[in-house]
């Protein structure tokens, strides 16, 4: 259990939150971000003009932390950096559960006064056994409680779910909190921890490892203070919860004295990749990929093999889909003879192609023949040589047809939803039309609500499936 478990528990499930600071230092961003906080929020401020504005927002203001008549679980400091030490001492006196220091200007500046102040914060925190999150960060979020760390983040039951995010970057954390619920990924907890002064990545990971509300952990990491400890916690986590790691700072250059070839080749990036694989975690390169993999894992199907059965509407896309899946390290084998025998009963080879991928537009009326589409997917599902199924819905052409024949859309989407539910094999649907992002988002949202796993391109589908299979194999002990 995390050495900061109790403090983090109080912060993430706070009953009472206090924001200490003024408008000039962006305290109002925090107060607006916490507008939907379902429990008790206080502002701490003495400036009369500010107090009037705060009260106009409907927030209860007090003149000092000591005026708050109940235990404070979580405080956010939005004050000038020179005032942080005294504000922290106040928090310690009031036995605040955990404190986020939003203020920047400490060790990350590399400048003497910033480093000195950070050391002072560390000394205060250690003496009081106080958890300081940050400094230079956006702190904790729990959308279910409306405990948000930025205005505009979704909150309430719609935004809540089983995925946690922890990040060294405030922006990446906020973006995740805004974006993930919009893409059907509900958030259990999120934390931005900046300079990682008293608690480091390993501590937050360790907390999420034992958090009952979290079943998938996403992280944005630039560096870890104690690599071995992070590795140990990571290794303890992955057998029960997937951990998806997005590493920043991979291109920075460095030098070292070289004796051996090994030391010359042991770049931080190469070592990090090996460590991630060894620990059974998943490495991704962007927030897109982070969310794609999380959704794939949450879809509830798993496979231990790489063999994909592909369906596309027309020739070119089916060729490119094969290229993309193969380049990603997946396989696109021929189907079993029995499968081709079944397909021969209804598959139209004129204007199509029988193999793998199945170039099936004419057979399934560009997706509108729900019966034939169902038969086709069933053939792939029953083929013992296929582990994964992917369907390209036909992009822009299909968006047009769906607009032209609105009544024909629902039966097809119902069929896809029913198949996604029934299938034992991971099933990915691709809808690629980057020039029509709004329509794609709407259609994908419709499909996702019915439990269909959708992707914006075959590349993204292939990469997510590949990463997910690697994890499923690790978890099942398949080498």
């Amino acid at each position: 259990m995390s050495r900061f478990h109790a403090q983090l528990d109080r912060a993430f499930n706070a009953r009472v939150v206090a924001v200490v600071g003024d408008k000039r230092h962006n305290a109002f961003i925090w107060l607006r971000g916490l507008r939907n906080f379902s429990r008790q929020l206080y502002s701490v401020q003495i400036e009369p003009k500010e107090v009037a504005a705060i009260e106009a927002m409907g927030v209860r203001n007090v003149r000092s932390l000591s005026e708050i008549p109940e235990p404070i679980d979580y405080a956010v400091l939005v004050v000038p950096r020179a005032a942080v030490p005294s504000a922290l001492r106040d928090c310690a006196r009031q036995q605040v559960g955990a404190v986020t220091v939003f203020t920047a200007g400490f060790s990350e500046t590399g400048e003497v006064e910033g480093i000195r102040l950070e050391q002072e914060i560390l000394a205060i925190a250690r003496q009081a056994n106080l958890l300081v999150i940050g400094p230079n960060c956006m702190g904790v979020a729990n959308p279910r409680l409306g405990l948000c760390n930025f205005p505009g983040e979704a909150s309430g039951p719609e935004a809540a779910g089983p995925v946690a995010f922890m990040g060294q970057s405030g922006t990446h954390t906020i973006t995740f909190c805004m974006r993930a619920p919009a893409e059907g990924v509900g958030i259990s907890k999120a934390v931005s921890f900046g300079n990682a002064l008293t608690a480091d990545a390993a501590d937050y990971l360790d907390y999420l490892r034992t958090d009952d509300e979290t079943s998938v952990i996403c992280a944005y990491i630039e560096g870890v203070r104690d690599g071995r400890r992070f590795y140990d916690v990571l290794r303890q986590t992955t057998p029960t919860k997937p951990v998806i790691l997005w590493k920043g700072g991979v291109s920075a250059a460095g030098q070292r004295a070289i004796f051996s070839h090994t030391a010359a080749l042991a770049t931080p990036q190469a070592v990090w990749q090996g460590m991630v694989r060894q620990a059974g975690a998943i490495s991704v390169e962007s927030q897109d990929e982070l969310l794609d993999v999380a959704r794939t894992l949450l879809a509830g199907k798993s496979a231990h093999g790489w063999r994909a059965g592909l369906v596309a509407m027309t020739g070119g896309p089916s060729v490119v889909m094969t290229d993309v899946f193969t380049e990603t390290g997946l396989e696109v084998p021929l189907l079993a003879d029995a499968s081709y025998a079944k397909l021969a009963q209804f598959f139209r080879v004129v204007g199509g192609g029988l193999g793998n991928p199945l170039d099936a537009g004419s057979t399934i009326a560009m997706g509108f023949d729900a019966d034939n589409l169902k038969r086709l997917l069933e053939v792939l599902h029953d083929d013992p040589g296929i582990d994964l199924i992917a369907l390209d819905l036909g992009g822009s052409m299909s968006l047009d047809r769906w607009n032209d024949y609105p009544t024909k859309v629902q039966p097809v989407f119902d069929l896809l939803a029913a198949f996604a539910t029934r299938s034992h094999k991971p099933f990915a649907v691709v809808l690629e039309a980057p020039h029509r992002p709004v329509e794609v988002a709407q259609r994908c949202d419709e499909l996702r609500r019915d439990g269909v796993l959708t992707f914006a391109s075959p590349q993204r589908a292939a990469r997510a499936l590949r990463r997910a299979v690697e994890y499923w194999r690790f978890r099942a002990g398949v080498e």
Binding site: E222, G223, V224, R225, G227, R228, Y231, G249, A252, A253, G254, Q255, R256, A257, F259, S260, H261, T262, A263, A264, L265, A266, T267, P268, A270, V271, W272, Q273, G274, M275, R277, Q278, E479
Partner: protein, 239 residues
């Protein structure tokens, strides 16, 4: 005594001064052989006559390599002669190796040469190494070896200690793994012997964490076993 800069490119830089000592090839191989690693034996010869007698005893063809605490990259200074088939050739090679080392590295202390039997032909060249990462401590590397290893950069890493599964995955991650799996009439190399070697190296580092860097390059991988023909070890000295 030398200062060693440990540097992480991930935002948590630190500089540590520890004193280091490079073992010569003879010492390095003795250390590895004691731990049961498959290394080609090498003996130190300080004179041409001693080199010729040693070669006669261990058998031809023989290889000579310069031994100096100041020369890390032996072939860069013309310090390696291979495939010597007679005492006369060994004597000539001894003089040649010592002379080119003197010319290329005038300040280097020359202890003599390492005499070893030529390894049999046909092995695939693999590198196995160890270094210390500033964030994660001791790591092990494997890759396609030889002199081009830093150009090809076809390597994979794991943290020490290593499990068998990790060792197998390291090999499977190499882009050029087909060279090991057998192709164009070349038989597959002994993968299990490579896996065993990785595990032995991992075990050695657990017992001897004072080893800061290690290169076994090349390790020759045959269809029936593996043999490290060159070894380089950097030790951390007690303060």
């Amino acid at each position: 005594m030398s200062a060693h800069v440990l540097e992480s490119r991930d935002g948590f830089r630190y500089v540590a001064s520890v004193s280091m000592r490079a073992l010569n090839e003879i010492e390095a191989k003795a250390l590895l052989a004691e731990s049961g690693l498959p290394v080609a034996p090498a003996e130190l010869a300080r004179t041409a006559g001693e080199a010729a007698r040693t070669a006669e005893r261990i058998g031809f063809p023989a290889a000579l390599k310069i031994v100096s605490p100041d020369i890390v990259h032996k072939s860069d200074v013309g310090g390696v002669k291979l495939g010597l088939t007679s005492p006369q050739e060994v004597v000539a090679a001894f003089e040649a190796v010592m002379e080119s080392a003197r010319v290329a590295a005038p300040a280097a202390r020359l202890d003599g040469v390492a005499v070893q039997p030529m390894a049999r032909a046909g092995g695939a060249e693999v590198i196995v190494g160890v270094s210390v990462d500033a964030q994660f401590g001791h790591v092990i590397m494997c890759g396609l070896g030889g002199v081009l290893v830093e150009v090809l950069q076809d390597v994979s890493f794991r943290l020490i200690p290593l499990q068998r599964r990790d060792a197998r995955q390291m090999l499977s991650e190499l882009r050029g793994r087909r060279l090991l799996e057998g192709m164009r009439g070349r038989p597959a190399v002994d993968m299990e012997a490579l896996v065993e070697l990785f595990l032995q190296v991992s075990g050695l580092i657990e017992r001897r964490p004072d080893i800061r860097e290690l290169d076994l390059n090349p390790v020759l991988a045959y269809p029936d076993g593996v043999l490290a023909v060159d070894a380089r070890v950097l030790l951390e000295e007690p303060p």
